[in-house]
């Protein structure tokens, strides 16, 4: 069965209970977080709107991080994107591939929400969900979550006319369905998340070629060059998945 999270940004009040519960429950290290709340503000005083970008794994069905992961540390299970840190080799491809910029390297290994795999398999619910005071977080079978998300979006339209459910189409459908009060880009969440070049290249070039070790190494070197350039430019080098055309406007902004 597929499971999913619900994140209701109409309710989220930025209290960080999820962040702390996640850190304590998952026994994360110093400086390690699977959830980060980022305050967003739009407009000019006093005509303002604001909200909280919950920067956390969206659990994409077509998960670019899983595609590029060479060791299988990242994998899909029950509709969620799991991470076995013990298996991670520290290549950091996932940090480049993610269209939402979620995984980070922590102590040499990938670090991101795994949907509280261990806790859930032991019979609990994900730590963030269990503690959320404003009931902005829920977890359950995907169909139940999807129905609840639509119910909530519908209910908030009096106040938020553009309320909708985010995540049904993005990246093949997300395992984190967001009840979005307004345009997601107001919270810097992309309407149409782009899989960067890395993931695409991996899928189309590296994997087919991986039978030949030499060739594979050569392409990996090329991929590493792309990574280092991106790091250098401090911005996404977005290659359109179909056209492999560099978005020159974007890179010049940086």
């Amino acid at each position: 069965m597929e499971y999913a999270f619900l994140l209701d940004l109409g309710r989220c009040i930025g209290c960080q209970a999820c962040v702390a519960s996640c850190k304590v429950g998952n026994e994360l290290g110093e400086g390690q977080q699977y959830i980060e709340l980022i305050e967003k503000t739009n407009g000019e005083f006093p005509n303002l709107t604001g909200g909280w970008d919950n920067h956390r794994c969206f659990h994409c069905a077509d998960a670019a991080c899983v595609t590029v992961c060479p060791t299988g540390a990242l994998f899909k299970e029950d509709g969620l994107t799991r991470l076995e840190r013990d298996v991670c080799s520290g290549c950091s491809y996932c940090t480049e591939a993610c269209p939402y910029d979620i995984p980070v390297m922590y102590e040499g290994k990938s670090s991101k929400c795994d949907g509280c795999a261990a806790t859930v398999s032991a019979g609990g619910s994900p730590w963030c969900v269990g503690t959320c005071p404003s009931a902005a977080l829920e977890y359950g079978p995907r169909e139940v979550i999807q129905a609840e998300a639509h119910k909530r979006a519908e209910a908030m339209r009096d106040r938020y006319p553009n309320a909708h459910v985010y995540g049904e189409t993005q990246a093949g459908g997300l395992g984190l369905l967001v009840v979005m009060p307004d345009d997601p880009e107001l919270l810097d969440i992309p309407i149409d998340p782009k899989t960067p070049f890395m993931a695409d290249a991996w899928q189309k070039v590296v994997q087919p070629a991986a039978v030949g070790i030499t060739l594979g190494t050569a392409v990996l070197a090329g991929a590493a060059a792309v990574i280092s350039r991106r790091n250098h430019e401090q911005e996404m080098v977005v290659i359109e998945a179909e056209g492999l055309v560099r978005d020159s406007e974007k890179s010049e902004e940086g």
Binding site: A20, F45, G124, C132, A135
Partner: protein, 763 residues
């Protein structure tokens, strides 16, 4: 309580496919392979090992949520909300989640210590408990012999404060016991409520959130001031479509959720309330039947507010008159299920009792009190006190969990005939002992000398305004003993330091919470105390036994004390444990529950729109708008508030919470910042009107605040090397509060009367 009806439980998915009653999943499309269950003490599911689950009451903030604590192989691992607790309802905030980390903070005080260097030097030697307690007892007895019992001040905060600021102080015989939660926080709110409708607001604001239809928050930051229950109630009410009006100079987290944000000029809230009353009365929008039956003084109030039109208020508040009228109408359309929420920290400008009263008068006109969806009546718990001999003096430390008490006409006198030294009846009218007013007597000896101080769980230098004066007092005292968990800055000024066990390592007296459904909650240890630390009740008792107060400490263990009290409700510790750690009683929330009798404990049994009591004491019988001083050119008014991750000045060093929120920022309006040439992320120093300077603090240049004020989270800017993570991080608002304005009614210390400028030099 309106809970979200989702067909799944957020608590746990128990394996095994049993579907329990009404909680079963009822999705039309999904079939279920796991069913729901609630976490309980018998359900240790998330870790391998010897698992112990205990009940507790969270002490990280003063809201006191009931929690369930999981200990694995003797190590406390995780804290969750107790589903049976009426406050937490199974949920917990970030602060509460940080409790484990608070306990295992390696910076904790580890052993009793006696000072060896100068006061303030932080030089101590470790001693045994026996040595330390004997030393303290001898010092206290010496002060008593020389100056009388009243020369001892006892300051207490956090959940064991009862053992010191109430029990020990009253047994010993000093009326000079105080809690910061009174005059540095809630006193104006509760005194104004008592004067207006006969009872204090109480620790848990009695807002009938389940069915409220419109509400106003004035400078109240739900979500930033992370009261777990309030966040739950707010989210449900807002999602249900209740109208949200937020009055705040700052676009707070909750303002971003509001239907109406009123970015009011700081210090002018009373003008807004007077204009609302004007609209309600002149347009006949108030609840006439309710006002007729339950209030006194409408005629006077109508005449009083006649001139306070929205146009008048617009010029004062910097809000459009149309918006003032429109929001008054929104409240009226939804009455009586409409309320101005009392908020918590209200000591702002020194006229705070009158401001709070103005909000209560709006509520009275809306017919709010005792009505469904408005403000219900809290009922106190039925539970016997532990049988004790009469105390030597009746104290008045107040505190946010205090039962509403009677204000006695005659002040209680200590054994040598002295009443409270805080100037009550002279510099202010009434209310609990004002902590900040006890500092001067320590220095001046006026009206009589206070020569010794017991400080339990209070950060003396990051809560009482004008910390330089507090240091002067700490230098002047004959004897200071500090009982605490962490080496907070004032610890360096103590003669003896007694390290306390945290709330996770000790039993505690029962919590008796006045509430819609009054309830009793319990605390039991989740693990043995770390290091050489002891519970507060034990320290209080050991001291009491050494200073001749044996009659007040005839019990030997705290379990014995608790069980004795529980007999009166036919329960026991074991029984409470079996019941999920909480005993819930029946309340009387609404007018109709009183069978025609008045629930208002005023002389007339009615709500005093006009207050004879205030008039007799020489105060305005109805609230008047008084302008507060404006910031000098180049200065901003210093506003302060909370981070949802931190409590007061207590948790900045807690590893997990420090990791999430390591330092505060100074919020500056973007345009104002640009004019000053400072950018978002720059570090600046803050200097106040008296030249007091902060350490470096990061600028948050934002649209979210007016250009005449700056804002920072309270509690940062620690100056204590023992707090290895928090020391020197961010700025201390208390350090910049060299002034405060005394509320002449309640004795509250208004702290938003300080101004700062940003200084790029010296960073």
């Amino acid at each position: 309580m309106a809970r979200i009806k989702l067909d799944i439980s957020r608590r746990s998915f128990l394996k095994g496919g049993l579907a329990t009653g009404g909680l079963a999943l009822m999705s039309p499309t999904a079939s279920i392979d796991s069913a729901v269950g609630m976490l309980s003490a018998d359900d240790p599911w998330y870790r391998e090992g010897d698992i112990k689950t205990t009940y507790n009451v969270c002490d990280v903030c003063p809201w006191r949520c009931g929690v369930v604590v999981h200990t694995v192989n003797g190590i406390v691992r995780k804290i969750d909300g107790n589903p049976a607790d009426p406050k937490s309802r199974g949920m917990l905030c970030a602060r509460g989640q940080g409790g484990v980390s608070f306990m295992y903070d390696p910076d904790r005080l580890q052993s009793p210590m006696i000072r060896t260097g100068e006061r303030g030097s932080g030089q101590f030697k470790e001693v045994t408990w026996e040595e330390a307690l004997d030393y303290v007892a001898a010092a206290l007895l010496q002060v008593k012999d020389k100056y009388g019992e009243e020369a001892l001040a006892v300051f207490g905060h956090t959940s064991g404060d009862h053992w010191f600021a109430d029990h020990f102080a009253q047994a010993w015989g000093t009326p000079n016991a105080a809690k910061p939660s009174s005059s540095l926080c809630l006193s104006p709110r509760d005194e104004a409520a008592t004067l207006t409708y006969g009872s204090a607001v109480g620790g848990h604001e009695p807002v009938d959130w389940d069915s409220i239809q419109a509400f106003t928050l004035i400078g109240s930051h739900i979500g930033e001031d992370a009261r777990n229950t309030l966040m739950q109630d707010f989210a449900n009410a807002q999602a249900r479509g209740a109208k949200v009006i937020v009055v705040d100079p700052r676009f707070s987290s909750v303002a971003a959720k509001a239907d109406y944000w009123l970015p009011i000029k700081p210090g002018t809230d009373t003008a807004l309330m007077l204009a609302w009353m004007n609209v309600l009365i002149t347009e006949s929008l108030y609840d006439a039947a309710y006002v007729e039956e339950w209030t006194e003084g409408l005629e006077e109030l109508a005449a009083h507010v006649a001139e306070f039109t929205p146009d008048w208020a617009a010029g004062i508040t910097d809000l459009p008159a149309a918006q003032i009228r429109e929001t008054a109408l929104v409240m009226a359309e939804n009455m009586p299920a409409a309320a101005v929420i009392p908020g918590r920290h209200v000591t702002w400008y020194g006229n705070d009792s009158q401001r709070m009263r103005s909000t209560y008068l709006v509520n009275a006109l809306l017919g709010t009190y005792g009505r469904e969806g408005g403000m219900y009546f809290n009922k106190s718990v039925y539970l016997d006190h532990y049988p004790l001999p009469p105390y030597t003096v009746t104290g008045s430390s107040g505190g946010c969990s205090a039962e509403p008490g009677e204000e006695s006409a005659e002040l209680p006198l200590g054994p040598t005939g002295k009443a409270r030294a805080d100037g009550v009846r002279e510099s202010f009218m009434r209310g609990p002992t004002a902590m900040q007013e006890l500092i001067d007597p320590m220095i001046s000896g006026d009206p009589y000398p206070i020569r010794a101080l017991v400080a339990y769980g209070v950060n003396l230098l990051n809560s009482i305004p004008n910390p330089e004066r507090t240091i002067e007092a700490l230098k002047a005292l004959d004897f200071v003993v500090a009982i605490d968990v962490l080496p907070q800055e004032h610890i360096a000024w103590a003669d003896v330091v007694l390290p306390e066990a945290t709330y996770l390592e000790r039993y505690e007296d029962l919590w008796t919470v006045p509430h819609k459904t009054p309830y009793i909650a319990m605390r039991e240890p989740a693990a043995d105390p770390l290091y050489d630390t002891k519970p507060g009740w034990w320290i209080s008792r050991e001291l009491g036994m050494r200073v001749g107060l044996e009659d007040f400490y005839k019990w030997e263990t705290i379990e014995e004390w608790i069980d004795k009290r529980l007999v009166s409700v036919g329960s026991s510790l074991d029984d409470m444990r079996a019941q999920g750690g909480v005993i819930v009683q029946k309340g009387k929330p609404y007018l109709e529950d009183f069978d025609g009798a008045s629930p208002f404990h005023t002389a007339s049994g009615k709500i005093n729109l006009y207050s004879e009591e205030l008039a007799e004491a020489g105060h305005d019988p109805m609230p008047v708008y008084e302008p507060t001083d404006e910031p000098p050119t180049g200065y901003f008014r210093l506003l302060y508030g909370r981070s949802p991750v931190h409590t007061f000045a207590k948790t900045q060093n807690t590893p997990v919470l420090n990791d999430i929120d390591p330092e505060n920022e100074i919020w500056v309006n973007v345009d104002a910042a640009e004019q000053l040439g400072v950018k978002d992320g720059d570090y600046v120093m803050l200097e106040n009107q008296d030249g007091a300077r902060s350490g470096p603090v990061q600028v948050k240049a934002t649209q979210r605040i007016r250009s005449d004020a700056v804002f920072m989270v309270h509690g940062f800017g620690h100056n204590s090397p023992g707090l290895t993570r928090a020391n020197g991080k961010g700025a201390s608002d208390t350090k910049l509060q060299t002034r405060y304005k005394l509320d002449p009614i309640s004795g509250g210390a208004g702290m938003r009367v300080n101004f700062v400028r940003l200084d790029k030099e010296g960073v």
